[in-house]
Amino acid sequence: MKRRRVHFAALLILAAATAGLLSQLVFGGSDRVKIGDGSVSALARPSKAADTLPESVLAYPFAERNFASKSGQGSRLLRLEGTLRLYAVPGKEGMLCLIEVDDAAATAGGACADRHVLLTGSIFMADRQENGSQLVVGLVGDGHTYAEAEGRRAPVESNAFLLRGVVGSKVTVGSPTAVQTIDLGD
Protein backbone atom coordinates (compact mmCIF):
# COMPACT_ATOMS: atom_id res chain seq x y z
CA MET A 1 0.00 0.00 0.00
CA LYS A 2 2.83 2.38 1.02
CA ARG A 3 4.65 1.57 -2.21
CA ARG A 4 1.61 2.51 -4.29
CA ARG A 5 1.41 5.87 -2.50
CA VAL A 6 5.05 6.55 -3.25
CA HIS A 7 4.46 5.69 -6.91
CA PHE A 8 1.41 7.96 -6.99
CA ALA A 9 3.37 10.85 -5.41
CA ALA A 10 6.20 10.36 -7.91
CA LEU A 11 3.70 10.39 -10.76
CA LEU A 12 2.17 13.64 -9.47
CA ILE A 13 5.59 15.30 -9.23
CA LEU A 14 6.46 14.16 -12.75
CA ALA A 15 3.16 15.49 -14.11
CA ALA A 16 3.67 18.86 -12.38
CA ALA A 17 7.23 19.13 -13.71
CA THR A 18 6.06 18.31 -17.25
CA ALA A 19 3.26 20.90 -17.06
CA GLY A 20 5.73 23.49 -15.78
CA LEU A 21 8.19 22.73 -18.57
CA LEU A 22 5.48 22.92 -21.22
CA SER A 23 4.18 26.25 -19.92
CA GLN A 24 7.73 27.62 -19.96
CA LEU A 25 8.22 26.52 -23.55
CA VAL A 26 4.84 27.64 -24.85
CA PHE A 27 4.21 30.83 -22.90
CA GLY A 28 7.77 32.01 -22.40
CA GLY A 29 8.15 31.34 -18.75
CA SER A 30 6.21 32.19 -15.64
CA ASP A 31 8.61 35.05 -14.81
CA ARG A 32 7.25 37.08 -17.73
CA VAL A 33 4.31 39.36 -17.07
CA LYS A 34 1.18 38.42 -18.98
CA ILE A 35 -1.59 40.78 -20.06
CA GLY A 36 -4.91 39.59 -21.45
CA ASP A 37 -5.51 36.26 -23.16
CA GLY A 38 -4.06 37.04 -26.59
CA SER A 39 -7.38 38.14 -28.09
CA VAL A 40 -7.36 40.94 -30.68
CA SER A 41 -10.83 42.47 -30.76
CA ALA A 42 -9.97 44.69 -33.75
CA LEU A 43 -9.98 41.54 -35.89
CA ALA A 44 -13.54 40.76 -34.83
CA ARG A 45 -15.16 44.04 -35.86
CA PRO A 46 -17.20 44.19 -39.10
CA SER A 47 -15.04 44.72 -42.17
CA LYS A 48 -14.97 47.89 -44.28
CA ALA A 49 -13.55 48.57 -47.71
CA ALA A 50 -10.50 50.23 -46.14
CA ASP A 51 -9.55 46.96 -44.42
CA THR A 52 -8.50 45.35 -47.70
CA LEU A 53 -4.74 44.99 -48.08
CA PRO A 54 -3.12 46.70 -51.07
CA GLU A 55 -2.49 44.40 -54.06
CA SER A 56 1.21 45.26 -53.89
CA VAL A 57 1.45 43.64 -50.43
CA LEU A 58 -0.48 40.55 -51.52
CA ALA A 59 1.94 40.14 -54.44
CA TYR A 60 4.99 39.69 -52.18
CA PRO A 61 6.10 36.12 -51.37
CA PHE A 62 5.65 36.99 -47.70
CA ALA A 63 1.86 37.11 -48.11
CA GLU A 64 1.52 33.62 -49.54
CA ARG A 65 3.82 32.10 -46.94
CA ASN A 66 2.38 33.81 -43.88
CA PHE A 67 -1.22 34.90 -44.39
CA ALA A 68 -4.02 32.45 -43.61
CA SER A 69 -5.43 33.15 -47.06
CA LYS A 70 -3.70 34.39 -50.21
CA SER A 71 -6.04 37.38 -50.36
CA GLY A 72 -5.30 38.37 -46.78
CA GLN A 73 -8.88 37.63 -45.83
CA GLY A 74 -9.84 38.91 -42.40
CA SER A 75 -7.38 41.81 -42.46
CA ARG A 76 -8.31 44.96 -40.55
CA LEU A 77 -6.94 48.47 -40.83
CA LEU A 78 -5.81 49.27 -37.30
CA ARG A 79 -4.34 52.73 -37.68
CA LEU A 80 -4.06 55.47 -40.27
CA GLU A 81 -1.59 58.17 -39.38
CA GLY A 82 -0.65 60.51 -42.18
CA THR A 83 0.39 58.26 -45.04
CA LEU A 84 1.16 55.30 -42.78
CA ARG A 85 -1.36 52.49 -42.48
CA LEU A 86 -1.17 49.57 -40.05
CA TYR A 87 -3.08 46.35 -40.68
CA ALA A 88 -3.60 43.19 -38.65
CA VAL A 89 -3.88 40.00 -40.73
CA PRO A 90 -4.73 36.46 -39.61
CA GLY A 91 -1.75 34.23 -40.29
CA LYS A 92 -1.19 30.56 -40.94
CA GLU A 93 -1.17 28.05 -38.09
CA GLY A 94 -2.12 30.46 -35.32
CA MET A 95 0.12 33.30 -36.41
CA LEU A 96 -0.90 36.94 -36.46
CA CYS A 97 0.65 39.51 -38.76
CA LEU A 98 1.24 43.23 -38.51
CA ILE A 99 1.62 44.97 -41.87
CA GLU A 100 2.70 48.56 -42.42
CA VAL A 101 2.23 50.47 -45.66
CA ASP A 102 3.46 54.00 -46.28
CA ASP A 103 2.18 55.37 -49.56
CA ALA A 104 4.31 58.52 -49.53
CA ALA A 105 7.54 56.64 -48.85
CA ALA A 106 6.52 53.78 -51.18
CA THR A 107 7.46 51.28 -48.47
CA ALA A 108 5.81 48.26 -46.92
CA GLY A 109 6.83 45.87 -44.20
CA GLY A 110 5.48 43.01 -42.20
CA ALA A 111 6.01 40.82 -39.16
CA CYS A 112 4.18 37.55 -38.51
CA ALA A 113 4.52 35.60 -35.29
CA ASP A 114 2.81 33.03 -33.12
CA ARG A 115 -0.07 34.77 -31.37
CA HIS A 116 1.18 33.60 -27.95
CA VAL A 117 3.68 36.46 -28.25
CA LEU A 118 0.77 38.81 -27.46
CA LEU A 119 0.51 37.43 -23.93
CA THR A 120 3.93 38.67 -22.94
CA GLY A 121 4.51 41.56 -25.34
CA SER A 122 3.89 42.68 -28.88
CA ILE A 123 4.34 41.70 -32.51
CA PHE A 124 6.37 44.73 -33.49
CA MET A 125 8.52 46.29 -36.19
CA ALA A 126 11.24 48.84 -35.56
CA ASP A 127 12.50 50.74 -38.60
CA ARG A 128 15.78 52.60 -38.37
CA GLN A 129 15.36 56.10 -39.80
CA GLU A 130 18.03 58.08 -41.63
CA ASN A 131 18.59 60.18 -38.45
CA GLY A 132 19.35 57.03 -36.43
CA SER A 133 16.10 56.97 -34.44
CA GLN A 134 13.53 54.22 -34.86
CA LEU A 135 9.88 54.18 -35.85
CA VAL A 136 8.31 51.47 -33.71
CA VAL A 137 4.88 50.04 -34.50
CA GLY A 138 3.26 47.18 -32.66
CA LEU A 139 0.25 44.90 -32.50
CA VAL A 140 -0.87 44.09 -28.95
CA GLY A 141 -3.61 41.98 -27.46
CA ASP A 142 -6.72 43.24 -25.70
CA GLY A 143 -5.94 44.73 -22.30
CA HIS A 144 -2.88 46.69 -23.39
CA THR A 145 -3.55 50.41 -23.13
CA TYR A 146 -0.24 52.12 -23.86
CA ALA A 147 3.29 51.89 -25.24
CA GLU A 148 6.12 53.99 -23.88
CA ALA A 149 9.70 54.85 -24.79
CA GLU A 150 12.03 57.33 -23.15
CA GLY A 151 9.20 58.76 -21.07
CA ARG A 152 6.93 59.35 -24.05
CA ARG A 153 3.68 57.44 -23.87
CA ALA A 154 1.49 56.58 -26.86
CA PRO A 155 -2.01 55.13 -26.48
CA VAL A 156 -2.97 51.74 -27.87
CA GLU A 157 -5.85 52.19 -30.31
CA SER A 158 -7.45 49.28 -32.13
CA ASN A 159 -4.79 46.95 -30.71
CA ALA A 160 -1.96 48.98 -32.26
CA PHE A 161 0.59 51.54 -31.14
CA LEU A 162 3.02 53.79 -32.94
CA LEU A 163 6.10 55.46 -31.47
CA ARG A 164 8.27 57.79 -33.55
CA GLY A 165 11.79 58.93 -32.80
CA VAL A 166 12.75 56.09 -30.45
CA VAL A 167 16.47 56.35 -29.68
CA GLY A 168 16.93 53.68 -27.02
CA SER A 169 16.60 49.92 -27.26
CA LYS A 170 13.63 49.39 -24.93
CA VAL A 171 9.92 49.97 -25.30
CA THR A 172 7.40 49.14 -22.61
CA VAL A 173 3.80 48.19 -23.23
CA GLY A 174 1.27 47.89 -20.49
CA SER A 175 -2.16 47.96 -18.94
CA PRO A 176 -3.29 49.90 -15.86
CA THR A 177 -1.96 47.08 -13.69
CA ALA A 178 0.98 45.49 -15.53
CA VAL A 179 4.04 46.41 -17.59
CA GLN A 180 5.98 44.39 -20.19
CA THR A 181 9.31 45.24 -21.77
CA ILE A 182 10.14 44.85 -25.44
CA ASP A 183 13.79 44.64 -26.39
CA LEU A 184 14.41 46.33 -29.75
CA GLY A 185 18.05 45.24 -29.82
CA ASP A 186 21.09 47.43 -30.42
Partner: protein
Protein backbone atom coordinates in the same frame (compact mmCIF):
# COMPACT_ATOMS: atom_id res chain seq x y z
CA UNK B 1 0.41 68.11 -77.65
CA UNK B 2 -3.25 68.44 -76.73
CA UNK B 3 -4.18 67.74 -80.33
CA UNK B 4 -1.97 64.64 -80.35
CA UNK B 5 -3.60 63.24 -77.22
CA UNK B 6 -7.03 63.80 -78.69
CA UNK B 7 -6.17 61.34 -81.44
CA UNK B 8 -7.22 57.92 -80.10
CA UNK B 9 -4.37 55.97 -81.74
CA UNK B 10 -1.69 58.27 -80.34
CA UNK B 11 -3.33 58.23 -76.92
CA UNK B 12 -3.46 54.42 -76.95
CA UNK B 13 0.23 54.17 -77.88
CA UNK B 14 1.09 56.63 -75.12
CA UNK B 15 -0.86 54.63 -72.52
CA UNK B 16 0.67 51.30 -73.58
CA UNK B 17 4.17 52.83 -73.52
CA UNK B 18 3.62 54.28 -70.06
CA UNK B 19 2.33 50.94 -68.77
CA UNK B 20 5.27 49.08 -70.30
CA UNK B 21 7.76 51.46 -68.71
CA UNK B 22 6.02 51.19 -65.37
CA UNK B 23 6.16 47.41 -65.46
CA UNK B 24 9.83 47.17 -66.45
CA UNK B 25 11.23 46.97 -62.89
CA UNK B 26 8.70 44.25 -61.94
CA UNK B 27 9.10 42.25 -65.10
CA UNK B 28 12.86 42.32 -64.79
CA UNK B 29 12.93 41.54 -61.06
CA UNK B 30 15.35 38.90 -59.84
CA UNK B 31 15.00 36.91 -56.62
CA UNK B 32 17.82 35.22 -54.78
CA UNK B 33 17.63 32.95 -51.72
CA UNK B 34 20.76 33.62 -49.72
CA UNK B 35 20.01 31.44 -46.67
CA UNK B 36 18.38 28.08 -47.22
CA UNK B 37 16.97 25.68 -44.62
CA UNK B 38 19.66 25.74 -41.96
CA UNK B 39 19.89 26.49 -38.28
CA UNK B 40 20.96 30.04 -37.54
CA UNK B 41 22.61 30.65 -34.16
CA UNK B 42 21.75 33.55 -31.89
CA UNK B 43 22.76 36.75 -33.72
CA UNK B 44 23.95 34.67 -36.66
CA UNK B 45 23.87 36.55 -39.96
CA UNK B 46 22.90 35.46 -43.45
CA UNK B 47 23.95 37.66 -46.35
CA UNK B 48 24.04 38.15 -50.08
CA UNK B 49 27.33 39.90 -50.79
CA UNK B 50 28.06 38.45 -54.19
CA UNK B 51 27.21 41.64 -56.05
CA UNK B 52 25.56 44.84 -54.91
CA UNK B 53 22.13 45.32 -56.44
CA UNK B 54 19.47 47.98 -56.30
CA UNK B 55 17.33 45.92 -53.93
CA UNK B 56 13.66 46.61 -53.36
CA UNK B 57 12.80 43.62 -51.11
CA UNK B 58 14.38 41.64 -48.28
CA UNK B 59 12.70 38.85 -46.30
CA UNK B 60 13.46 36.38 -43.51
CA UNK B 61 11.19 33.37 -43.01
CA UNK B 62 11.56 31.07 -40.00
CA UNK B 63 8.32 29.18 -40.55
CA UNK B 64 4.87 29.28 -38.98
CA UNK B 65 6.05 28.85 -35.39
CA UNK B 66 8.14 32.03 -35.23
CA UNK B 67 7.83 34.10 -32.09
CA UNK B 68 11.20 35.70 -31.50
CA UNK B 69 13.19 38.68 -32.77
CA UNK B 70 14.56 38.96 -36.28
CA UNK B 71 16.18 41.57 -38.49
CA UNK B 72 16.65 42.36 -42.17
CA UNK B 73 18.83 45.17 -43.49
CA UNK B 74 21.00 46.30 -46.39
CA UNK B 75 24.49 47.77 -46.61
CA UNK B 76 26.17 49.60 -49.47
CA UNK B 77 29.67 48.50 -50.54
CA UNK B 78 30.92 51.67 -48.85
CA UNK B 79 29.43 50.45 -45.56
CA UNK B 80 26.31 52.59 -45.24
CA UNK B 81 23.35 50.78 -43.71
CA UNK B 82 19.83 51.26 -45.10
CA UNK B 83 16.35 49.77 -44.76
CA UNK B 84 17.13 48.32 -41.35
CA UNK B 85 14.09 46.63 -39.84
CA UNK B 86 13.66 44.63 -36.65
CA UNK B 87 10.63 42.38 -36.35
CA UNK B 88 8.95 39.80 -34.20
CA UNK B 89 9.03 36.54 -36.15
CA UNK B 90 8.93 36.37 -39.94
CA UNK B 91 9.87 39.69 -41.46
CA UNK B 92 9.93 41.56 -44.75
CA UNK B 93 10.89 45.03 -45.90
CA UNK B 94 9.83 46.38 -49.31
CA UNK B 95 11.10 49.77 -50.39
CA UNK B 96 12.17 51.85 -53.37
CA UNK B 97 15.39 50.67 -55.03
CA UNK B 98 17.34 53.75 -54.00
CA UNK B 99 20.73 52.18 -53.29
CA UNK B 100 23.08 49.50 -54.58
CA UNK B 101 23.40 47.26 -51.55
CA UNK B 102 24.15 43.85 -50.12
CA UNK B 103 21.29 42.14 -48.23
CA UNK B 104 21.43 40.73 -44.70
CA UNK B 105 19.15 38.80 -42.34
CA UNK B 106 19.59 37.72 -38.73
CA UNK B 107 18.05 35.68 -35.94
CA UNK B 108 18.05 38.10 -32.99
CA UNK B 109 16.80 35.64 -30.40
CA UNK B 110 19.01 34.35 -27.60
CA UNK B 111 18.99 30.84 -29.02
CA UNK B 112 19.44 29.01 -32.31
CA UNK B 113 16.49 28.73 -34.68
CA UNK B 114 15.86 27.02 -37.98
CA UNK B 115 15.58 29.57 -40.78
CA UNK B 116 13.67 28.33 -43.78
CA UNK B 117 15.12 31.04 -46.00
CA UNK B 118 16.25 34.61 -46.42
CA UNK B 119 15.44 36.11 -49.81
CA UNK B 120 16.22 39.36 -51.55
CA UNK B 121 14.87 40.92 -54.74
CA UNK B 122 16.22 43.55 -57.10
Amino acid sequence: MEQLIRRPRVAAVAIVSALALGLVPVAGATSYIYWWQRNMPSNGVGYDRMTAHNHFYNELYFGPNAGWSSQVWEVTPAGYRHFDKRCTGNCFNAHPAYYYTYAYCSNRDGSTHFVYDCMDKW
